[in-house]
Symmetry: C2
Subunit: 231 residues, 2 copies
Amino acid sequence: MNLPETIKRPTLHEELVERLRNLVVEDALKPGEKVPEKELCESFGVSRTPLREALKVLASEGLVVLQANRGARVARVTRKELEDTFPVIAMLEQLAGELACQNLNDAEIARIEKRHDAMVKAYKARDRKTYFQANQDIHNALIDGAKNELLESHHRMLAVRVRRARFMVNLSEERWAEAIQEHEQMMEKLRDRDVTGLGQLMKTHMMNKFAAHIKALDLASEDSAESRTLS
Amino acid sequence: MNLPETIKRPTLHEELVERLRNLVVEDALKPGEKVPEKELCESFGVSRTPLREALKVLASEGLVVLQANRGARVARVTRKELEDTFPVIAMLEQLAGELACQNLNDAEIARIEKRHDAMVKAYKARDRKTYFQANQDIHNALIDGAKNELLESHHRMLAVRVRRARFMVNLSEERWAEAIQEHEQMMEKLRDRDVTGLGQLMKTHMMNKFAAHIKALDLASEDSAESRTLS
DNA sequence: TGACTGAATTATGAATTCATAATTACGTTT
DNA sequence: AAACGTAATTATGAATTCATAATTCAGTCA
């Protein structure tokens, strides 16, 4: 039996931060929309105090925007914001790749390979949902593998933005195939413990993803006149 | 007359986030210390509600630690945390250097050179306070020069940690001279618009700073037995 | 004396209340 | 009818109150 592990009792506002973040990321609360304080309080069965505390935290993460005396709105996902996000996240992934190569043990790498195989399988079955999950698991495992809490937390904050953007563009068949290729290469580098190699790959992987997103956005914006902000 | 500029009316809790953050960064609230909710409310002349909202935000930044039903404590600065911080901040500075080289115009670069000269002057006069301020201004100007809000905000969060650590170690004469040298080189690269060059320099500059910090910490910890956490 | 028990006190999380800013609805005027 | 001004309503920020968990302290017993 493995002992202690400090009992986790999530305080109300932490729970709410989680839930609200999910509502935003899963696109249940749409960008630009006003956050319905009253309704949310009722549906969660809590008073305004903890909910507002949670909103403050979400605001500091940039997921909602607070306007003095006018409540909170879900932050819009602008093109500029996406353009800003990717270079930063790419750098973090590069660093994560380098550190993960150094820190992961063989068993951990084997576990990642398993997820990788599952992802490839999902790709072949064109099972988007499973693919996305496995993909996210792999990236998270590599980030965790860096064993750097700061890196992890900052990456998580940025990844939320990208995940949010996922709802706006759809993965093209070409990009999907390309992404799988890149992941294959990443696994190779990881097996070989090629520190700078994996870092480099993860960076370019992210920048390619970025390019695909922007391309998809440009295609999408051909339809609508107001292409400055998305959705 | 240049128009709009949305009127800034800081809400109470934002103001408090600022103030509290300063208390932590300026080491008025010592690491590990309990945050005296009551006293702070009185001294700021506000009720607990906005102060607690501010604490939640500070907690999400990692500056304080919340314990359920036991209030907030100022986060301890551990060695591991510093070791985690620097590589991340170094990557961000590298990216900032690259982007700043591309985005800054001649006038902006000239302004940075002015600050650089002021910094060198402060160095020669051994005026630590002025030096630190000018140094910080330069770094901030380069970060701002990247014109990337995400980069900026994440950098700011991490920089706070380093600034906090400044109170624990003292800049050695050798490292000080070295840092000035590095800054001279940085200005050169900036003038030459050497994108990758400046990026590289800023990264190593930060890692050198890191090494100096760690070295100073090791020297300091020789004195005290409880060297696992600092202060 | 020193460790334990339990009551008193204090601190904390969360609900509620209150004052005010923002929004809406309505009436007036042209 | 459209535009403006004003009153009613609602939403919001912040103070206050309340219930409960944590801490302190006094008293008891070994």
